[in-house]
């Protein structure tokens, strides 16, 4: 997508070429099918699938959504049709489009993660694996791994052995432990990081004295968490030399540029897709306008610019 005026939106992430730096976050775009009625999937920089588990998973009891100030709680709980149908139905369908697919892999045990990631890699239809070790919505859905740098690194190393495609690791914000975890995961062989997953959160219906979510707790996303996400990107990108995909509350072009300047090599739009399925093409266009105005020609010109300008 190189425009006449020399603005080049393309980025390369761990060897994967993207038309523009905007991916769509796991779980906020289905597996593309529903959204394709409203948006051309070919216009996406990349697509991260909904979490898929080895076995089909019914997900959490409703209600699963609650809106909070500038944010949203969800407790979907990994509802999905399981690996088999995903590989047979969704992934082939997605591969018809000219868009790289990150398959979001979740598991209830290390063995599941490994088995599953291997199958995805073998399918030949995925551009990358996104290892979801930070889902706040299932007891053992990986949150366990992300809070312990050592365990996280061990899992990453095992998965690394069985996949032939780039391996991204998705982390939650870890106040104070971001650098340490990023380093451990990088050393274990990750090719990139996805930051951030939702924050563990909760809301209560005080009139009825019951949780707003059927699963009691859930994950907070949306503009409310954007400053936390920018900070996580800043910390991780300062600690390791891996491409970071920044996500969390991106609602505008300048939200995305914040992430890039803080060190993200690309960004992903999440909750905003649920409000505006066409957000990515719109933001990509706005980004080109911003670059034209400010005189940036290529996306990497902006990546990590804060540090290059001497901040931090």
């Amino acid at each position: 997508m190189e425009a006449d005026d020399g603005i080049d939106l393309r980025v390369e992430l761990a060897g994967i070429s993207l038309k523009n730096p905007f991916l769509v976050c796991s779980g906020t775009f289905g597996n593309g099918r529903e959204m394709s009625e409203l948006v051309d999937l070919n216009a996406l920089g990349g697509l991260m699938t909904k979490a898929v588990t080895l076995e089909p998973c019914p997900g959490n009891p409703p209600p699963r959504l609650w809106e909070t100030p500038s944010g949203m709680l969800n407790s979907i709980g990994l509802e999905n049709k399981g690996l088999e149908r995903f590989l047979a139905e969704d992934l082939p369908w997605l591969s018809r489009f000219d868009v790289p697919v990150w398959v979001n892999v979740a598991g209830f045990s290390a063995r599941e993660y490994v088995e599953w990631a291997e199958a995805v890699s073998r399918s030949g239809l995925a551009a990358a694996v996104e290892l979801n070790i930070s889902c706040p919505n299932v007891e053992k859905g990986g949150a366990f791994f992300s809070r312990r740098p050592r365990e996280a690194a061990e899992l990453v190393a095992r998965v690394r052995e069985v996949v032939d495609i780039p391996l991204f690791v998705k982390l939650p914000p870890l106040p104070g432990a971001m650098r340490e975890t990023a380093l451990a995961v990088a050393e274990a062989g990750a090719d990139g990081l996805s930051l951030i997953n939702t924050l563990p959160a909760m809301a209560v219906d005080v009139e009825r004295c019951r949780p707003r979510l059927g699963n009691v707790t859930g994950g907070l996303s949306g503009p409310a968490i954007h400053p936390v996400a920018v900070h996580a990107v800043w910390e991780a990108s300062g600690a390791v030399d891996l491409p970071v995909i920044g996500m969390g509350g991106i609602w505008s072009c300048s939200d995305a540029v914040e992430m890039l300047m803080a060190g993200a090599a690309a960004v992903a739009v999440g909750t905003l897709n649920l409000v505006d399925p066409r957000a990515v093409p719109r933001l990509a266009e706005e980004l080109a306008g911003f670059m034209r105005w400010k005189g940036y020609r290529r996306v990497p010109d902006m990546v990590g610019l804060l540090r290059r300008r001497g901040w931090g």
């Binding site: 529903e34 009625e37 409203l38 909904k50 019914p58 997900g59 209600p63 699963r64 500038s70 649920l274």
Partner: protein, 262 residues
């Protein structure tokens, strides 16, 4: 038809007590089925998610929603004025199946009257015989809307406080001759009302009942799986209210689990 994403200009607003009808212009491509909804951005600020509203009226380039104020989003929407713009996604979801013959009994709880009024109009156009039963808290709650709907339909009202029509819920308005054998039932209202109705009709009567359910929604497109309701078909599994519904055949839903989240 696939959903549209569009901006619509507000043409008029009619206030009916706790609710307002917000009338807006739509393009030719917009042709909602009864029971389908539109997903509207209700102001910016701290509200980030769209709000779903059933289509209440649609004819000749004009459509409307009937909005009952329950929080910030609905307060914002019902205060729109002529000339204001709305950001809309829709029509969305699966509407009512209109193909069944016989007599039609429409049961509305509160604001649930919105999709049923639109359904009633379509059924009447098709030559069906329509009875609209409507339960509300008190007789004055919806201003002059009962009069207005009374001109269009064979309308019966029940009120919780007995201030108008029968005292009690809308179920009190079901007469003995309204049976699943001869009548088709369409319902929209609070979860508790729908559960009570399924109990009243009993398992044998479920095939004659279609319900429109209200779940909190985010995408409205089936993508996020946030709006699920318990399904019969996949034991322990769910259907998406926004895409598989909001209208379901009563047999599709697991009413035991439906009850748990009242």
């Amino acid at each position: 038809m696939p959903p549209l994403a569009f901006r619509a200009t507000v043409l008029e607003r009619r206030d009916y007590g706790c609710a307002s009808e917000v009338i807006f212009r739509v393009g030719d491509g917009f042709s909602p089925l009864p029971g389908q909804f539109v997903h509207i951005l209700c102001g910016g600020g701290g509200r980030i998610i769209r709000r779903p509203f059933s289509v209440f009226r649609h004819e000749g380039g004009i459509a409307s929603v009937l909005v009952r104020e329950v929080g910030g989003g609905t307060a914002w929407l019902r205060r729109r004025r002529r000339g204001d713009e709305l950001d809309i996604l829709g029509p969305l979801g699966r509407g009512f199946d209109l193909t069944g013959g016989g007599e039609h009994v429409l049961l509305a709880g509160g604001i649930g009257v919105a999709p049923l009024a639109y359904l009633g109009r379509r059924l009447t156009e098709r030559g069906g015989k329509v009875t609209l039963l409507w339960g509300m808290e008190k007789g004055t709650e919806y201003g002059s809307l009962p009069e207005s709907l009374g001109e269009e339909f064979d309308l019966h009202i029940a009120t919780a406080d007995g201030s108008r029509g029968k005292e009690g819920t809308v179920l009190e308005l079901l007469s003995p001759e309204m049976t699943p054998g001869t009548h088709l039932f369409y319902a929209c209202g609070p979860r508790s009302m729908l559960v009570a109705l399924t109990e009243r009709l009993s398992t044998a009567g479920l095939p004659s009942l279609q319900v429109s359910v209200e779940e909190r929604m985010a995408c409205g497109l089936g993508a996020c799986r946030g709006c699920t309701v318990p399904a019969v078909e996949h034991p322990g599994g769910y259907l998406a209210a926004c895409r598989d519904g909001p209208v379901f055949r009563a047999e599709e839903l697991d009413w035991k689990r439906m009850m748990e989240s009242i």
